[in-house]
Symmetry: C2
Amino acid sequence: MKKQPTREKLLDITFDEVYIHGYSATSVDTILKKAGIPKGSMYHHFKGKKELVLAMVQERLFVKMDTFFIFKREAGETVMQRLRNTYVAMSKNKPLVTYGCPLYRLMVELSAVDREFDVLLGSRAMQLHQELAALLQSGIDEGEFTNKLHAESFARFMLSATWGILSMPPSLSSSRLFLEQSRFILENLETYTH
Amino acid sequence: MKKQPTREKLLDITFDEVYIHGYSATSVDTILKKAGIPKGSMYHHFKGKKELVLAMVQERLFVKMDTFFIFKREAGETVMQRLRNTYVAMSKNKPLVTYGCPLYRLMVELSAVDREFDVLLGSRAMQLHQELAALLQSGIDEGEFTNKLHAESFARFMLSATWGILSMPPSLSSSRLFLEQSRFILENLETYTH
DNA sequence: GTTTGATTAGACTAAATGGTCTAATGCAGT
DNA sequence: ACTGCATTAGACCATTTAGTCTAATCAAAC
């Protein structure tokens, strides 16, 4: 088990801490202690706490999101199948179901209060929305869905509703409940199938 | 304009601050300065920051929620009408649409991390869920909805989806978008009408 | 008006916070 | 081995944090 480069180790620990405790409640000293890395070392790699977390968002959070939001269809897969599979995959991701989507959590905490975070997180949210809308649109174009379906609107609804369900407190969430609730979203979408 | 009693003034300011900045990012000193109330005065009324916020949750946050989640039908009103009206009322509540539901925001921040808040906020969430489920159930009993509708499940979905939509960052939310998205929830429910 | 208890007032404290600084160390290229 | 730069190390600092303490003030009851 060879030693992880300082910078990478810091980003990993920062993700864990910020994911669960949020930005404000996470202290630099805690991260440093958990990572076993001295202060000077961290301030050599990052200008400060905020820059550390911004880097973590881009290099860890955004990357991890790709592992549970998968909007790229495999060959011969319908849009409905792709979405169903995505929800099943999400339901199997324990931290995701327990603590919610890390992007959404950070948005809720910081977007109203910090411009830089708002821009960074918001742009990723919009990107996600566009990918999802494109997937739905392809379903319309290929005749899987009626053209009564407004891809952009439904994608927006789907995204925020899913985030809402995922981010319910641990004491009120479970894999089973997540699937139960997400089924209503899919049911709704199914209304638009030919 | 007569002077508001210390305790009440503190609860008001605390609500404003915690609503927007969250629990961790809100400092006692800030509250005190905004309220123009000295420290000793606050610590006479409350044991500490946490107790102040817990009191605020019960005496302000919970009370305000009753003004936008209205599940009690007026005479002759169908369940669908009640819900539509509720969503319209919510969409007109500017802070609600801009910053999201204060209960949900606090849950996202604290439930995973603090037992007392988890219990207090969670119990209110469950109460809300039960009220909504009861409303839906009454719709089933009175023949407005098919008995294929599972009141409890749908209520859970409705609640978390609505929270998710409401709590989108200010830069991505508006009254119009809120209504657009909430319509999908109602549309879904409508498929269960006779 | 005096007494009594509640409240106000704010100086003070200890700990935690994010951040700086300088010296030591490692390590690559020569 | 020597040089030069990147990195590590952690003591140190100023500020902010939640919280304490004692004295002053107020208001109601007598």
